[in-house]
Amino acid sequence: MARYVMVIDSEKCMNCKACIIACQQRNHVPYGISRNWVHETDSDSSPCGSKFQPGACMHCDDPSCVRACPTGATWKAADGTVEIDRSRCIGCGSCIEACPYHARFRHPVTGTADKCDYCHGSTPGQTPACVAVCPVHCRIFGDADDPSSEVAKVLASRKAVHIIPVGSGAKPTLTYLDTTTPAELPAGNTVSHPVDTMRPLAKGVTWVGGLVLAALTGTFVRQLVKSSEKEDEEIAAEKKAASSADKHEKEDNA
């Protein structure tokens, strides 16, 4: 099974934003929003006064968006991609809130969560639009487990850098080469509290519900073996017998 990874040599990026336009075009993302971005940071060491950092969904390992989804509409696929199934998505926005990279958004037409899927949805099997269009070839995409792929070669020969938002604990797979600016991203809200609380609650329902069912089954079996109703009848018969014996005794004494 392939393990797809996107690698970015951000030092090459000249902020032409062709990757953003190409992605919007191929994936029918309405203008004004985008699945990918280029962060601009002021820098004296850059000839143009700014450093550029292209990015998109980081396709994290153990992604917080997947943990936040109550319906299983998003998941980490075996090929390394974090996927979304729109037919399962109820548009609650928990995953959007949970992503520390703000890589997700609510699609204004479908009303469901949307983000980079390496163009799997629009053009399966093809190179992602942002990679194909980049004029300086700063984005590289492929199977990191295939030693002959370009991705595997650059990962083997150059330093891999990951940017992680402060305190998020994210494990991104999107990799920058050698150096990138900014080196880390500011902390942000990564938890949807109401939906996050559902996890321990679901465990509670499982355990309490299981115990109740076990108790009811036990009671049902107990009643089959020895019915309380029958015991009531026996008690009533015993009482009746005792009272008639008492009556006879009183009559005898009289």
């Binding site: 199934d85 109820i90 609650c92 928990s94 609510r106 519900g209 309380s228 109703e229 026996e234």
Partner: protein, 234 residues
């Protein structure tokens, strides 16, 4: 025989039962990962029958019918049935209700003979139209139903609605409340089913949910306060 349930009440009971079971089962099947309380097999089973989208659509469709029929019932039978029912189930007599619940539990689990050996008189405190357990579950069911209906309507209408959008925080709280209400009912529903359909001595009460009538001796034994008030009024 004494009339215990009207035709409309019987219809609403069974309509409610069918909808509740389907909505509870399909609703749990919509959940995934650590939020799935039954297990992944449960989700796979239901998705296998309805498909991913089909399951959500079926849950929404049955939920909409359930809410619509209930709203109609409440509007049409508000004075005749709904308000008297609410008055009846919210009339608590704490001491005797707790005593009834504990003694009924002992009666079922350890039996009356052992209860007597424990030094406890197994005689249950007299009950009205509904016993303490029924009233407690009814109040929980009413609160959970209102919670489920309101949050269900909000989610059904606003989820994925691009024309009339609502804050995602509202939707997330709706999912949470919807899940809490369903979770509570998932625990109490089996108790109600056992106590009403399988527990010894409840046969006439179960049959009355189909016929509307209970034998006089059953009412006298199980609901003596209601029986006494019927006698007094007649």
């Amino acid at each position: 025989m004494i009339r215990r349930h009207s035709r409309s009440a019987m219809f609403m009971h069974w309509f409610n039962a069918i909808c509740w079971i389907f909505l509870l089962f399909s609703g749990f099947a919509l959940l995934a990962g650590e939020m799935q309380p039954v297990g992944q097999w449960w989700r796979n089973l239901w998705v296998g029958i309805f498909g991913d989208r089909g399951l959500l659509v079926a849950h929404l469709a049955v939920g909409t019918i359930w809410v619509a029929v209930y709203v109609l019932y409440i509007l049409l039978f508000c004075r005749r049935e709904v308000l008297p029912f609410l008055r009846e189930v919210t009339t608590f007599h704490m001491k005797s209700d707790i005593e009834w619940c504990m003694k009924k539990g002992l009666w079922l689990v350890v039996g009356p003979k052992r209860t007597m050996k424990m030094g406890i008189d197994p005689t249950l405190p007299p009950q009205g139209f509904y016993n303490a357990g029924q009233r407690m579950v009814a109040v929980i069911a009413v609160i959970a139903s209102v919670g489920l209906a309101v949050t269900g309507v909000v989610m059904g209408f606003f989820s994925g609605n691009v024309d009339y959008a609502v804050s995602e925080t509202v939707l997330q709280w709706c999912i949470f409340i919807h899940f809490c209400c369903a979770g509570i009912m998932a625990i109490f529903l089996p108790v109600h089913i056992y106590m009403a359909a399988l527990a010894p001595g409840e046969g006439p009460a179960l049959r009355s949910m189909f016929t509307g009538f209970v034998p006089e001796h059953h009412a006298e034994h199980h609901n003596p306060l209601w029986y006494a008030s019927l006698k007094k009024n007649s």
